[in-house]
């Protein structure tokens, strides 16, 4: 009984997190990007707490707390601040239009189901149903990084991908060892900070944060 509730909750939570990731593909304002990332991280925090509760692992509460502070409070605030400064062009112009993006993301999730099949077969954890969804989120994040022209949108894509990996890790193993988990958070934070510095540099050198102007280096 408990196990089936657990497995339903984890699949539901993973679906919500994946859907929030796909929402990125049809929103066009940078403001929405920061908001979606915040909500997705909040949902991820809830997933960590749920798995910590059903899996009887108090370490996951610590990870959830750090995750909440970092990805729900700190990073979205930075994103919003940058968006206020640089977000004068409201419309993002991705390389691929919305309809095609959505269709491709559907294909990516399908691909994730194919790729994650051996994982689901191997695992006997109640959370295994969510594994393909987490893998799908990694691909959707990657897709956002590749197809967006805006530096901030690329950063959000990268963060969404990180969320996908965190979800994959917690669903598959009930959490990797806490020291590694904290190291990963530190890396995400540092990586984010250096990317943020570059957004400022790009803006002051190129007078906009569209990265398709970065095309001078050849041969």
């Amino acid at each position: 009984m408990n196990d089936s509730l657990f497995s339903q909750l984890s699949t539901l939570g993973s679906s919500v997190i994946l859907l929030l990731g796909i929402t990125l593909l049809w929103r066009k304002s940078l403001h929405a990007y920061a908001g979606i990332f915040r909500w997705q991280s909040a949902a991820l925090t809830v997933m960590f707490v749920i798995i910590g509760y059903f899996g009887h692992d108090p370490e996951l509460y610590v990870v959830a707390a750090v995750l909440f502070i970092l990805k729900v409070l700190v990073l979205p605030r930075y994103l919003e601040r940058m968006e206020k400064r640089f977000g004068d062009q409201r419309e993002l112009q991705p390389y691929v239009n919305v309809v095609t993006s959505l269709m491709l993301s559907g294909l990516l999730v399908l691909l994730a189901y194919v790729i994650a099949r051996p994982l689901v077969l191997v695992s006997d954890l109640p959370t295994r149903g969510g594994l393909p969804l987490a893998m799908g989120l990694v691909f959707v994040g990657l897709f956002v990084v590749i197809t967006r022209k805006n530096a901030l949108a690329q950063i959000v894509g990268f963060l969404v991908m990180e969320n996908g990996i965190a979800l994959l890790a917690v669903l598959a193993t009930f959490g990797i060892p806490i020291i590694v988990e904290l190291g990963v958070f530190l890396d995400v934070l540092m990586g984010f900070l250096v990317m943020q510095v570059f957004v400022y540099h790009i803006h002051s050198t190129f007078e906009s944060i569209d990265v398709d102007q970065l095309n001078e280096l050849k041969h």
């Binding site: 051996p118 695992s123 598959a172 001078e216």
Partner: protein, 503 residues
């Protein structure tokens, strides 16, 4: 204990550099001398592993299981020497060690004090992160430190802010972060497979534990994990088709950082990949990973050969040469114990040769006003020492004796033909010939001729023999020694390393 002497000096140097403000030349000198302690520690590890010991260090607290978190076997010791040697060279040849610059002279650009401070903080952190990677037994820690190298180096690629350097570092950070994230997916999958078999254990991310249990892992999961790891760490190592950041980043970074990235960072990324290859081979048999390595190795060679032919900028030309050597080493690692031996020997030689080249390129860059090959004629006349060493280094890189790369490539092709891969080896040889011819063509353009007055920087004095040139002669001596003989300790070390990664 030796681990502390290995890793703490660069951390200490970074701390000093961040505390002293504004930057003074003394800070750079302290960092450079401290790096010799690391180098000594690396040789200490070599001595220990040759005697058959495997030093480890761990921490076991109640809530934190860091059992055997650091471990040095032969492969680690080999990499430690590669990293610390280039690091010491790079720190002694770093900008900011001379008196403050009035007119730009040998080896230095006119950086401002705040830029020099940033440079010395992050280059030391970068070195520390690489050293942690090669001493880490825990594959999670290995991943964290490799990601940290991306972040630290991204801070100093654009030491001079301009459009080109910003473009290069943006591409570098996005591509490498995404790539490394995929490597983490692979790490998680490996851990997942282990956990679903044997239950959760704090030290299950330790490479030794994974390797010991590799035969019982699920082949289909390991196959998937290895693809992610190959894409991830392959991005960092610059294996085609994930190599696109390399020419940009190498072309725009300060020379000591380029030297470190081209020789040590590449070797470190390859090292992480080899550790996982060993695990995957123990599960799947070696055919699967070998085929992947062969395909990507040949692709790297192909792309590099075509790009070298078209190269117009000499710094980017050496980035393509890096991709070429990456390809050759990938082929070597796919060819069983013989090939692995050749590839490791190649790795050592490449470390010496590539770091030499990027320091020389730095001299040339400051003497001439343009990075274009056709605008840098007459090297032998304007810079006799640099020109001569440049010619030697380039000929070593394309595999001419007496440089050690000749021996390594010879061993590689012998292994390939012995294992009955004539088509693969034939294709590789043909591509090498293309690289060879175009490099000689570019070298001819650069060595001879007479530069016009507006092409060279006349403010710089004519080059004379100095201690900075003398330091580069160490690399030359190493390359010639390795070309003529294989010292017994190195041979033992290489043989032991081959035993670890190739059965």
């Amino acid at each position: 204990m030796t681990f502390f002497f290995l890793i703490l000096p660069p951390l200490l140097a970074a701390l000093i550099a961040s505390l002293v403000r504004p930057y003074r030349a003394l800070v750079g000198w302290i960092g450079a001398w401290l790096s010799l302690i690391s180098l000594g520690a690396a040789f200490g590890f070599v001595a220990q592993v040759i005697n058959g010991q495997t030093p480890t260090w761990g921490l076991k607290l109640e809530w934190l299981n860091l059992d055997e978190v650091l471990r040095a076997d032969s492969l680690s010791a080999l990499l430690m020497v590669c990293v610390t040697a280039v690091a010491a060279l790079a720190l002694f040849l770093s900008p900011g060690l001379g008196p403050p610059i009035q007119n730009p002279h040998w080896g230095e650009l006119a950086y401002r004090p705040n830029q020099l401070r940033r440079y010395h903080v992050f280059i030391n952190l970068f070195i520390a992160a690489m050293l942690l990677t090669v001493s880490a037994n825990n594959v999670g820690v290995m991943w964290i430190t490799i990601e940290a190298t991306t972040v630290f180096s991204a801070f100093i690629i654009p030491l001079k802010l301009n459009k080109a350097s910003i473009e290069a570092s943006w591409k570098y950070i996005i591509l490498c972060s995404v790539g490394i994230a995929l490597a983490f997916v692979g790490t998680v999958l490996g851990y997942f497979d282990f956990v679903s078999l044997s239950g959760r254990a704090g030290n299950a991310l330790n490479w030794t534990v994974l390797f010991a249990n590799a035969h019982s892992l699920h082949p289909e999961v390991v196959r998937l994990a290895f693809v992610f790891l190959l894409i991830g760490y392959g991005t960092k190592a610059g294996i085609a088709p994930m190599h696109t950041w390399k020419p940009d980043a190498y072309g725009e970074s300060p020379a000591p950082l380029t030297a470190l990235m081209a020789s040590s960072l590449f070797a470190v990324a390859m090292y992480a990949l080899l550790r996982w290859k060993a695990v995957a081979d123990a599960t799947l048999g070696s055919g699967y990973t070998n085929n992947l390595f062969m395909v990507l190795g040949l692709l790297s060679l192909l792309i590099a050969a075509l790009s070298v032919v078209l190269a117009t900028d000499y710094k980017r030309m050496f980035a393509y040469s890096s991709i070429e050597h990456t390809g050759l080493m990938c082929l070597g690692f796919a060819l069983g114990p013989l090939g692995t031996f050749a590839a490791l020997l190649h790795l050592v030689n490449h470390t010496a040769a590539k770091s030499l080249m990027f320091f020389l390129v730095d001299n040339i860059e400051h003497k001439y006003r343009s990075p274009l090959i056709e605008k840098t004629p007459g090297l032998l006349k304007t810079m006799p020492w640099t020109g001569a060493l440049f010619a030697f280094g380039l000929m070593t890189l394309i595999g001419l004796p007496p440089g050690g790369i000749f021996i390594a490539e010879f061993a590689l092709f012998r292994a390939g033909f012995a294992l009955k891969h004539p088509w693969l080896m034939g294709a590789a040889l043909a591509l090498l010939a293309v690289v060879f011819v175009s490099f000689i063509r570019h070298l001819n353009k650069m060595l001879y001729g007479t530069p016009s007055a507006e092409e060279i920087n006349t403010e710089r004095p004519t080059e004379r023999f100095s201690w900075r040139i003398a330091l580069l002669l160490i690399n030359v001596a190493m390359l010639i020694t390795l070309g003529l003989s294989l010292p017994a300790p190195l041979q033992t070390l290489l043989n032991q390393s081959v035993g670890i990664i190739s059965k």
